[in-house]
Symmetry: C2
């Protein structure tokens, strides 16, 4: 009996080996040892929207927000204090999926409708024709970036790949709008849009007619919860757990892209936690926002509990990340541009408040508990890192990879690099205004950071260690440093064929940072 | 027996009437009805260093600090959301005592030693010879302002006048260093210095040799507490209560200038509250600072309790105020310049974080409980206001009074003035650097605020209602508004004979704001 069972298993494996649709042969031996990966990505969550201090000190915002499960994860894993994303969502999400810097993939602003740029009009600059159709699995879609994606490679390497939540990679009416076309075996509630119509089951998550999706914001595929008193964040958690169970039945390692719509607008109260924050004296919509943060944290806790109850925790890597800074220029309560304090400004800004993210990694027995890493890392690094952690040795992609694996830091095999260079590129106009929000390119080199403004050629220079809040512009004091960073930035942008805006009046391209 | 007692009382009053040293005759009849006044002045306390929201919303800092007695006072009295002081201590304290704007009294920086300016050297500007010897009761002291003081007038009007805590009006070795020379009947622990050597009884409050004052920082006159495990804030409260009891024995209304050294540096833990904040996860020195804030709040609570237990609460006005914004450029934990968020910067700055103060007034039966007033008021207004509340009709002073009584707002007889003009003048250099910290003059006119920098002629323009954090400089957008406010400011500064800095290179006076 046992022999027969064994024989069938081998036969099945041979079948899979021969008839697999993957271009890379399926290595079943390796797959048995592979760790599961949960990439827990929160939307619009800032560096301070948590009770876990990501700075050297606990701040007033850390005391306000209550994220006990993030605290647990921090004590069990490694906390990264200088993890970066782009300042808006789509560029970050495409970098995560492709390993490309935003200047290279050119999905530099947020995407939604095919061939429609969400750029606002500017009085001086004409924005470039950026890749407004987002990420695509083919090379035939105009204004898009064609790339081999992270889940595609993981799938080729034996993973059961699950997308759960906000996708927001390709524009509506393109293949990239559907996560199943981007390498996922399973798609839960993901499509082109970057926000839910509603977080409430009572409101069918934004679908007016329960059976039919209300475009563009109605969340798809959750019909069975329509009308229920349940929050979208909770729904996604339940569905993710059921997807993990599915992977267990398939006897495959899983990659779960746990991509919450929370804590993006609309700021709707998460009824499970709202009253507590209201009673603390928080006004609308800050009490709502705090309740959404704790709802997201509950999801993290539920997933961690499920893993340990099912003996999956030891072989599962959890990576916690967000896609841009906390929204601060609009929709929030309180004074604008203060929601990421001590970081300046928020979502959409080139200042730290727009780009610095809460990031943690937990892998029991592999990543030392309660550790902190100050290595500067950026969205595109996760691509190489996750493949590295999954033991994928050979990566064949159609695109050039910019990101670098940070596993040496994760396993404490490398010291922090004091001189790493990071680049952000935003040849766009978001809409809301505020400090650091505009058409800019930015470079960080070691402790120095330079922001270049295309509109008027202005350059700002900061030393982050001494001035995390970017209050003291040192450009006049260190002109040579300005020139040095401008040259590095200009060189990089030209190398990757970055887009740049034109001057409306002359129709001439705005100068690169080192041309002015 | 009763007759004899009555006779002695009248005889005593006749004696007081004839032999009073006051220049204005003592009106004993009026004095019997006069309300007691406690002016509760905290040092270096910012607009957000409290659980009482002074903005439209409760902020993260409001949730961090715990000041239950201030909360009680807020529900029992009127809260002023736009009360201003100078950005450093001495100018505010002299304005409070004299009713003069700082530009007029010219004690524009903090005082300490006779004829020694605490100004730091600047590379471009030479600072003027300002009134570095502070406030004086005579006209014979060089570099000082001679004025008739608030307690002097109250004393002439029958009040028992008590100073308790930090004085900091006149430089060392001048008459003004001693509160008894400035109109106070009693001085508890006040002298020239603006900070205590220590808050700890165990450290003799900064006196190395218990019997002898250690200059300049050792707190004087508290020998009986030396060596005890007791905090200075508690000592001042106990002594203030005993001073009130003394006033009761004298059967006089009292004016208590309850002028805490707290929450100025040195940031030493108040042992009664420190552990709680440490356990919240706050790092040094923020846990210490928060404990000092709650210690100060306890003092307010103890005074309020004493008043009600002794049936004094109904006839006692309490005014709560601070002398400048919360320290943020030095000594504090956390990121510099963020401790007054959503206000920008802190002590020493022309931005709101340097000058906007927590202010409340409680007068049972007279001031409507739980009310809020948005009228902009400033330090010098308290002089006229307190005299007004004390029923002093005729005020004879050697100085010109700039302040205006805000009693019409307190008693809800007047609507907020949408176009009030306020001026700040700081022709000095503080030392610590940061946003808005420098040699500036500032004007607020209605919702507009202009900051003029003497060093480079720069002008910044903000609209406070829309941009409380002063992030969007509108100077380029509204040049006519810049000119209008510059003219108002220049006119005012010339009218009051304000000091101004010189350019080092040419020895020429820097231009007034409307000359550039």
């Amino acid at each position: 009996m046992l022999m027969i069972h064994h024989f069938i298993k081998i036969a099945l494996l041979i079948y899979v080996f021969i008839f697999s649709s993957s271009t890379v042969p399926f290595d079943w031996k390796a797959s048995l040892k592979k760790p599961n990966i949960i990439f827990f990505l929160v939307d619009d969550m800032g560096w301070q929207d948590t009770s876990v201090p990501f700075w050297t000190e606990k701040t007033a915002l850390n005391l306000l927000y209550q994220t006990p499960n993030m605290e647990k994860m921090a004590t069990e894993g490694m906390k990264f204090t200088q993890a970066y994303a782009s300042s808006v969502c789509s560029p970050t999400r495409v970098s995560l999926m492709t390993g490309m810097n935003a200047a290279r993939h050119r999905v530099t602003n947020w995407t939604l409708k095919r061939n429609i740029s969400e750029d606002h009009a500017d009085d001086v600059l004409k924005m470039p024709v950026w890749n407004m159709n987002g990420l695509q699995p083919v090379d035939s879609i105009e204004n898009s970036v064609h790339a081999t994606t992270l889940p595609q490679i993981l799938k080729q390497n034996g993973y059961f790949t699950v997308h759960c939540g906000k996708a927001h990679w390709g524009a509506m009416n393109t293949p990239g709008a559907n996560p199943l076309n981007l390498g996922f075996d399973l798609n839960i509630a993901g499509h082109a849009a970057g926000a839910p119509g509603s977080y409430q089951g009572e409101k069918n998550f934004g679908n007016k007619d329960g059976d039919k999706q209300t475009l563009p914001w109605g969340v798809p595929g959750l019909g069975k919860y329509h009308g229920d008193t349940i929050n979208l964040t909770e729904v996604l958690t339940l569905e993710a757990i059921s997807a993990i169970q599915q992977a267990q039945k398939l006897n495959k390692p899983f990659f779960l892209n746990m991509s919450h719509y929370a804590v993006h607008t609309p700021l709707e109260a998460d009824a499970r936690f709202y009253k507590k924050y209201k009673n603390m004296g928080l006004e609308e919509p800050e009490a709502r926002f705090a309740s959404m943060v704790e709802g997201m944290d509950k999801s993290l806790g539920d997933l961690m509990s499920f893993l340990s109850e099912n003996n999956l925790d030891k072989n599962t890597i959890i990576v916690f990340m967000s896609d841009n800074g906390s929204l601060s220029a609009t929709a929030r309560g309180g004074q604008k541009h203060t929601h990421n304090s001590p970081l300046k400004s928020g979502k959409g800004s080139a200042y730290e408040g727009g780009i610095r993210e809460p990031m943690m990694v937990k892998w029991p027995g592999k990543v030392k508990p309660g550790t902190v890493c100050n290595q500067p890392i950026i969205a595109e690094d996760f691509f190489s890192t996750l493949l590295d952690l999954a033991g994928v040795k050979k990566i064949n992609t159609v695109q050039v990879i910019d990101g670098v694996s940070f596993t040496p830091f994760l396993f404490q095999k490398s010291k922090v690099q004091k001189d790493r260079t990071l680049v952000w590129h935003y040849p766009n106009k978001w809409g809301p205004t505020g400090p650091g929000i505009g058409t800019t390119s930015t470079i960080r080199h070691g402790n120095w950071k330079l922001i270049y403004w295309y509109k008027d050629g202005k350059k700002e220079l900061y030393r982050l260690e001494e001035d995390l809040s970017e209050n003291n512009d040192l450009a006049n004091k260190y002109p040579e440093k300005v020139d040095e960073l401008s040259a590095l930035l200009g060189e990089y942008l030209r190398k990757v064929n970055a887009d740049r805006p034109l001057f409306k009046q002359t129709n001439q391209a705005a100068p690169w940072p080192d041309e002015i």
